[in-house]
């Protein structure tokens, strides 16, 4: 009995950790789709880019002795690493929008899509050529402890990832629902022309969207590096596909939907790995997701498709 519970509990925590990363990355897809009705194929690369910036920041800052001198200083080191990596990745997102998507805003819908694929290839190959074609270790500078709770092994790393993820989501949710700029974002996603008539500077809102999404995706990339211990130039590809799926499952364009979809996908994957087969975990997770889409084509929290068009 307690062994049984141990496995479930273990997989729930593993699933939430993985799901948190998917959810953070999924938010970027859903934010951009909500505003521009565009699938930003280059978004997966924000995961990779954030991880690299995070790694370099961590390496650079940890040379300063102060940051490794005490517990609080170490915490500060990590907070700074995340902040810097998120801001830098966010700025990259804004630059990509400005030069690769905005000139194509009035072009046929296929054009920005192709441009996005180009950006994605460019970033992957840049990382491959200029940094490394191999996995790079991502150091962990604090001692990871493992707690045994009700038969499950839960690491302090998992707790850190889950808690930080939820924190970031709460900040985003509050920003979007309570602030003036957040309201401008929602208005723009509901009716762009009408938002412009209210005095919303649409280009600024779009730039903001392309800052927030990549910043969150970059944070997810750092989590991935910390969790698995290494990063690679193509590390964004699989999580990108999964997170995009998570966004669709939740109802693309819907923020809470992306969060729900991400966690759901992470949980399904972990449970499938434990109870059925590791080799088939993705097949099983995606099969369940397809079933969800058959019954709710607009996604779990999405409007019906007819309404959106």
């Amino acid at each position: 009995m307690s062994v049984e519970f141990g496995i479930i509990g273990q997989q729930l925590v593993n699933g939430l950790t993985l799901g948190g990363m998917y959810a953070l990355l999924a938010l970027g897809y859903t934010l951009v789709y909500g505003i521009l009705l565009m699938i930003n194929f280059a978004h997966a690369e924000m995961f990779m880019f954030g991880a690299y910036v995070g790694l370099f920041t961590l390496q650079g800052l940890s040379r300063i002795e102060f940051f490794t001198s005490s517990g609080p200083a170490l915490l500060l080191l990590y907070v700074l690493t995340f902040l810097i990596a998120m801001v830098v990745t966010g700025i990259l997102g804004v630059i990509i929008e400005r030069f690769a998507y905005r000139p194509l805003r009035h072009a046929p819908r296929l054009a920005p899509l192709i441009s996005a694929i180009g950006v994605s290839l460019f970033l992957q190959n840049a990382a491959l050529l200029w940094i490394s074609s191999r996995s790079i270790p991502f150091p962990v500078l604090f001692e990871v402890r493992t707690f045994r709770i009700a038969g499950a092994n839960i690491s302090s790393m998992q707790i850190l990832i889950i808690v930080t993820t939820i924190l970031l989501m709460l900040v985003l949710d509050t920003f979007v629902s309570r602030t003036r700029l957040g309201r401008a974002m929602r208005a723009t996603s509901q009716d762009r022309d009408a938002a412009g008539l209210m005095g919303v500077d649409i280009n600024r809102v779009i730039a903001l969207t392309f800052f927030i999404g990549p910043a969150l995706g970059g944070a997810a990339g750092i989590f991935s590096g910390m969790y698995y211990g290494n990063i690679k130039y193509n590390m964004g590809f699989i999580p990108g596909i999964k997170s995009f799926t998570a966004a669709v499952i939740g109802g693309i364009g819907n923020l809470r939907g992306a969060m729900l979809g991400g966690f759901l996908l992470g949980l399904l994957e972990s449970l499938a790995a434990a109870y059925i087969s590791t080799g088939y975990k993705d097949v099983i997770a995606f099969a369940i997701l397809i079933v969800v889409l058959i019954f709710k084509p607009g996604g779990l929290l999405g409007e019906s498709v007819a309404e959106k068009v």
Partner: protein, 235 residues
């Protein structure tokens, strides 16, 4: 107050406005009437900055505003209430009204104006927490006008406010337009309902395929034989 001088606006290669010139004086209600596709909405969108004219100029209170993006035109208190109402469907009535005041930060003034528009349309007060998308067509039109008023417009441009509404509601809307004007708001009104529009308007312009073909006082146009035949359905 508003001087539109010989504007030409294109959709790709299609010339939708072939040199339109209109003027609105402070305190007036001016109406643009014309058949479907005449270019009425295109004219309003060009003034509000949603479209840029290829030639011609637009002046508001002596300042050139043509080619400005729509948020910048809104900042000049030139406010367009768009065709089809364009309420934010997932936002509450209250949030929609707040969006109308997006560029303002005078809290007290906003609260004052909120009371004013809710007095103007008491039905909105009962529905403040309701989502915009769940309102009836008439209520949405009231909300669209109220939202426009929340920007303290110097010039309020209404695009077919009576479209698709029951006759009783149409009367309410036109009554409101008159009251807003009497209270000091200058109005540029686009309508297919020419009879009602010309009754409330001081002056009017008749548009046909992108050009002004006739202009004059409201009652003068109402009596005009060509207008009566083409737009008021008389034989």
């Amino acid at each position: 107050m508003l001087k539109v001088n010989d504007i030409h606006t294109f959709y790709g290669k299609i010339e939708a406005l072939k040199g339109i010139s209109i003027e609105v004086q402070e305190g007036e209600i001016v109406t643009l009437i014309g058949a479907n596709g005449a270019g009425k909405s295109t004219t309003l969108k060009t003034i509000s900055g949603q479209l840029a004219p290829l030639h011609g100029s637009i002046e508001f209170l002596g300042e050139a505003i043509s080619g400005m993006p729509s948020h910048a035109v809104t900042a000049k208190h030139v406010i367009q209430v768009p065709e089809g109402r364009r309420i934010f469907p997932q936002m509450s009535v209250r949030e929609n009204l707040d969006m109308g005041a997006f560029l303002r930060n005078d809290k007290e003034g906003i609260a004052e104006d909120l009371e004013k528009v809710l007095d103007l349309f008491p039905r909105l007060r009962e529905r403040l927490a309701q989502k915009g998308g769940t309102l009836s067509g008439g209520e949405q039109q009231m909300l669209a006008i109220a939202r426009g008023m929340m920007a303290r417009p110097k010039l309020l441009m209404l695009d077919e406010p009576s479209m698709g509404l029951a006759p009783v509601i149409v009367d309410v809307i036109f009554e409101t337009i008159k009251r807003l004007n009497e209270a000091g708001t200058t109005i540029l009104l686009v309508e297919q309902n020419a009879a009602m529009a010309l009754q409330v308007a001081h002056r009017g312009y008749v548009l046909e395929t992108g050009s002004v073909v006739l202009q004059g006082g409201g009652t003068e146009l109402l009596r005009n034989e060509q207008v009566r035949k083409t737009y008021l359905g008389e034989v």
